[in-house]
């Protein structure tokens, strides 16, 4: 609250600026999920299935415990969607070699195809937004989003130089 500059100065944050931030997140997330949701509905699956397929694709051989810590839902909630996906052969399970209690999860070919079709709409949306905004804006976006995310998970997003 000491140095007030002209233009949008985040050191002088008005009520209105913060409201706008809240709304940007609401509308962006709403529109970001609408397309995959529509595809999922056609094949009798839901957003929860998408999330599981997404993160299993992202981290092949992920364990159930790791997946739970990402999704932050209960084991019982995950169980339902995961067993759907295993039954319908989108996801394969195999025991861990070091720890045989673990069930390592991977996408089947069918799962890879599903993940792709679901995330394609999202990738296209991001790509278009990034292209329209330019490199500098993308870096700003990344920085602010990281600030919104709890510190524990920021390490999942290595800085540009390290990518």
């Amino acid at each position: 609250m000491t140095d007030i500059k002209s233009g949008p100065n985040p050191l002088f944050l008005r009520e209105e600026d913060l409201r706008q931030g809240i709304e940007l997140l609401f509308y962006a997330y709403r529109d970001f999920t609408a397309e995959p949701d529509a595809i999922l509905a056609r094949i009798g699956l839901g957003r929860a299935h998408h999330r599981v397929v997404y993160f299993v694709g992202r981290y092949p051989s992920i364990t159930v415990t790791e997946l739970l810590s990402i999704l932050q839902i209960t084991k019982q909630s995950l169980s339902r969607v995961l067993s759907d996906l295993v039954e319908q052969e989108y996801i394969a399970q195999r025991p861990g070699t070091k720890d045989r209690r673990q069930r390592l999860l991977t996408l089947t070919d069918k799962g890879v195809e599903l993940e792709r079709s679901l995330s394609d709409a999202q990738r296209a949306r991001i790509a278009q937004a990034y292209r329209a905004a330019g490199a500098a804006a993308v870096e700003g976006f990344r920085t602010v989003m990281l600030g919104i995310i709890d510190a524990e998970d920021r390490a999942k997003f290595p800085p540009p130089g390290k990518r």
Copy 2:
């Protein structure tokens, strides 16, 4: 695929950059909603109530139809949460003066207080992220988020000069 530069160049969008964008949205929204959800749970309300209280606070005297078009849910879904909020006197309804079919929605004092307590956590999170990121990053964030949001709703976010 033609010009490869160093650093994050959104004209050369790698699979990995797009994935990161998807994940930034997932984690940010997850953490952004966690705190108000916890508060709501204590008073027996849910996220849907928060959204209604938020947008009635944002647009005093909003009509039901307008609210539906923002939330993009069905009338029946809104009806339940809205009647909870009216019964518990967080929201007041009064007929429109020009069109007496309309029920104009406003927050009661109790509703204003609820809205504030719910959104305070979110405002604090945004404020902290904005401060840490700096003015330029905030503008980049705004630009990318607008690109993600469907064009129809972008007019809700006037450019900095007009704010």
